[in-house]
Amino acid sequence: MKKTTTESQGRKGKPDKGFSRRSFLGVGIGGGAVASLPSGLEAAQAAAGGRTLGPGPVPIALRINGKVHNLNIEPRVTLLDALRNHLDLTGAKKVCDRATCGACTVILGGRAVYSCTVLAIEAQGKEIQTIEGLAPAGKLHPVSSAFVEHDAQQCGFCTPGFVMAAKAFLDRNPAATLPQIERGLSGNLCRCGTYIGMRQAVLDAARQMKGGSRA
């Protein structure tokens, strides 16, 4: 199928030295990045002295947008649900809930991840950046403002995920070309059909971020 082809090209092409949320999550093959990330789950288990965690609520600490939040949640709670249901950080959206659409994208330890497919306990010990932490209150990150300027959004439900995916991608690929951007953002989906504005927005954001206005 067409999309699968695109994605596998994206992995093979590796314009970004191993960056791929799909491969990071181990969805499909070629997960070169998986091993390189420390496992938050292992860390959590180690902290628990090798005991099994749960099934009841357990204390966890998440470092989100520079601030530590202590929560008491079940180990099965995903990072997305922890953000949305326990911390009222609702910028990341729940859509497919199966690591396909990217509406839940956040940046975990510098890499874009599908937060619907990361357990909150696994995300401990790493810096979590959500769309709420992308720019100071009342200001827009260059990626967000480029999305506004180029009308790269309609209903806006996919937008925070795309903004985070684009931000993470541009951080690693500041000189990305349009074909590279298309591969880099192929893990996110929009239903309203805002891709035309989005192409321009991400190219424009790349220029602006290089120009020194990077947040």
Binding site: M1, C155, G193
Partner: protein
């Protein structure tokens, strides 16, 4: 008759028709925008539903006691008691309300239910296998088709075409949060009908003695932002009514949003249509006769006649018959331009095949026949413009000449029409003594730019910058405005906003005229000032003028429709699309290269969001032409791809170049909605482009690689 409400003429517009960024863009792009799904209320419970895993079954027994005993479960409600028939995979059976989403899910799994599985039908394409599930409609005949087909000098083509069912796949699932305060309920809903669903909910609830005092006005609906509807979110739905009921029962706010699988199974689909078509033209290309036997499904309720032949409605001799097929699949709902994409696909593909048989370039063939439509001149101008933008003359080639290697090129076209009569709308324009302005409508912004359009119209009318106007929508307490569907919103809200703003401004003029030594009729508002016309030295800033109101606030209602207050909006448009594709005959993969859209749309309020609407319509069309299909298994009666991994949408790299040309020359007609029309032609135009590329017709949409390869196998690889 000219009216003071008329739109300013082209040279005198400061905001209308410019490229203006959507006002809620920053809130959306920074994650601050709160959708129904994002509403978290103090003490809120979460509900989840049990739905049928079968295509057709009956509930034999249902026991919820284990679920009720689960710690954290607050309520369980059975919607389909033992003995109830379940008509499709995904139909709701019971609801569990719990302290958390996770526990609600546990509760659903604890429900002990047994089913009697019944015979089902989930596939409708093969008429020989639908048993007694088809309901033939009446045959309709115009002219004398038999005689027309029998003439010696006509060329006749017969073909089979089809377009499958697809889902809406709204990214924000259907659902809401409901919260009671005494006898009043607030519902934060993901809806296209803020002003309607509260009343609809109240009517259903009032059948329950516990809710006998609930009135339509008791339920307030709020929709600040909503994550896509596309025609599927007009009703409160079972989950809306039950969310409100259970919220009252538990005394707590409840959030009930559909899970993705149920969203794709039950929350909306576009009906299918298939047709055997016979069509004939004289040797000069003039179409003289059409005959079709069509069928399709809209789920358990069957499917409507799509209205074919489409656009070319004046073909002199016609015979049509439609069979409505009831299937055990999630029910149809309005889907962006209901019936039109299907009708376009069946009609434009048959006509293109006839052009091929006549050895005619389809562009010439369509130009020859657009007189058989209601707006031949519009289509003629649009076809020529589109051909220029596509470079059709260079790119079109006879079939079988798509290129030497395994990558074949092709172009195709389609034309479409849509109504879009402006919906009824009331708008309240408030001018305060401090100079602030509020514009209030019980409307909603689906992402189409409604909020921005309202602000532009009010600011233009009042001579203010956009920042001088606060738009307040998404609340059923505001003056009633229609549901957003069928491209009716922009005409409705822009008309009512214009009238309300003119009326409010008149009141302001009356209040300040004497202080400027003139009469109200000599005043104009521009550039943030109230100015004496012809004597610009005499003026007041907007703020100073409003200060003269003292303690009085101006509040005026504008309405659509209003017979005596000018015609500000219209209905009825035509549009043309051309598609260019590449097809890999080794893999069967179709790649979009370019789409050209030439669309008649009347007066454009915001060119930027209007273009986005068109881009989006084309991209949704690409999704449905190449990727989207509900895949059903006739063995089990279930949908196999109720997820987003295998129910495919296009990604950012899959849509090719899109060129949009608005036919603004019609702007004297006023505002005409743009949501549906450009969403109609893409599947048909892409179908014809694929055929042009590979030389054979792939009969049914979507053009997935397996079907392209099968058509090549059958038709020869040229």
């Amino acid at each position: 008759m000219p009216s003071k409400y008329d739109w300013p003429v082209a040279g005198k517009r400061s905001l209308i028709g410019k490229r203006i960024s959507r006002l809620d863009g920053p809130a959306k792009a920074s994650g601050a925008a709160k959708y129904a799904y994002d509403v978290n209320r103090p003490g809120m419970l979460v509900a989840k539903m049990l739905f049928s895993p079968h295509g057709h079954a009956r509930v034999s027994s249902i026991d919820t006691s284990a679920a009720e005993k689960l710690p954290g479960v607050r309520a369980v409600r059975v919607l389909k008691a033992a003995g109830t028939e379940l008509n499709y995979h995904g139909v709701e059976i019971a609801i569990v309300v719990a302290d958390s989403e996770e526990i609600a899910g546990d509760g659903v799994r604890k429900i002990n239910i047994k089913y009697e599985v019944l015979p089902h039908l989930v596939k409708e394409e093969d008429l020989s296998k639908i048993g007694n599930m088809g309901k033939p409609g009446q045959e309709t005949t115009v002219g004398n088709p038999d005689q027309a087909f029998g003439q010696a000098d006509v060329v006749t083509h017969e073909g089979y075409y089809g377009i499958n069912t697809i889902t809406h796949c709204c990214l924000e699932a259907h659902g809401q949060v409901a919260e009671w305060n005494g006898e009043n309920c607030t519902v934060w809903a993901s809806t296209q009908a803020v002003g309607r669903i509260g009343g609809d909910m109240a009517k259903v609830l009032a059948n329950d003695p516990a809710f006998k005092d609930v009135k339509p006005a008791s339920i307030r609906v709020l929709t600040d932002y909503m994550g896509g509807g596309f025609g599927s979110k007009f009703a409160p739905d079972v989950w809306g009514v039950e969310c409100a009921r259970l919220s009252k029962q538990t005394g707590k706010p409840i959030k009930l949003m559909l899970d993705r699988d149920q969203e794709l199974l039950a929350a909306g689909m576009r009906p299918s249509d298939y047709a055997k078509v016979k069509v004939a033209a004289k040797k000069d290309g003039s179409v003289v006769a059409w005959q079709s036997e069509s069928w399709g499904t809209g789920g358990p309720g069957g499917g409507q006649f799509p209205g074919i032949p489409y656009v070319f409605t004046e073909i002199p001799n016609k015979r049509t018959r439609h069979i409505s097929v009831a299937t055990n699949t999630g029910p149809g709902r309005a889907w962006r331009a209901p019936n039109h994409p299907q009708a376009a696909a069946l009609t434009m593909c048959a006509l293109e095949d006839l052009a091929h048989k006549l050895n005619m370039n389809p562009l010439d063939f369509f130009l020859k026949n657009v007189g058989l439509s209601a707006r031949g001149d519009v289509y003629r101008a649009e076809l020529l413009k589109a051909a220029e933008l596509m470079d059709w003359k260079t790119k079109w080639h006879p079939r079988g000449q798509g290129g030497k290697g395994h990558i074949k090129q092709g172009v195709g076209l389609s034309i479409h029409t849509w109504g879009g009569r402006p919906h009824d709308s009331d708008c309240r324009c408030i001018i305060n003594p401090d100079g602030s302005v509020q514009v209030q409508l019980g409307s909603q912004d689906l992402g189409s730019g409604t909020r921005t359009v309202i602000a532009i119209v009010a600011a233009e009318t009042l001579g203010l910058p956009l920042s001088g106007v606060q738009v307040q929508i998404g609340d059923s307490n505001y003056p009633p405005s229609g549901a957003s569907g069928g491209s009716t919103t922009v005409g409705g809200v822009s008309s009512s906003t214009r009238r309300a703003s003119v009326k409010a401004l008149d009141k302001l003029f009356e209040a300040v005229a004497s202080s400027l030594g003139t009469t109200a009729d000599k005043l104009v508002a521009r550039d943030g000032r109230i100015v004496v016309e012809g004597d610009p030295a005499k003026s007041l800033t907007w703020k100073a003028a409003c200060a003269k109101l003292g303690t009085k606030t101006i509040s005026e209602i504008g309405r659509q429709p209003m017979k005596d207050e000018g015609t500000l909006a219209d209905q009825g448009v035509g549009g043309v699309q051309m598609s260019e594709v590449e097809v890999d005959t080794e893999t069967g993969i179709v790649t979009m290269k370019k789409s050209v859209v030439v669309q008649d749309c009347g007066l454009v309020i915001d060119l930027k969001t209007a273009e986005s609407q068109v881009f989006g319509a084309v991209i949704m069309g690409v999704c449905s032409a190449l990727y989207e299909e509900r895949i059903f298994d006739q063995q089990t009666g279930t949908m196999l791809n109720a997820d987003m991994e295998f129910y495919k949408l296009s990604g950012i790299g899959d849509v090719g170049e899109i060129v949009v040309h608005m036919m603004n020359i019609y702007d004297q007609r006023g505002v005409i909605g743009l949501g549906e029309p450009p969403a109609i032609s893409p599947p048909a135009a892409i179908a014809n482009a694929v055929t042009n590329a590979i030389g054979v017709r792939v009969e049914t949409i979507p053009f997935t690689p397996d079907k392209v390869l099968a058509a090549l196998e059958k038709g020869g690889r040229g």
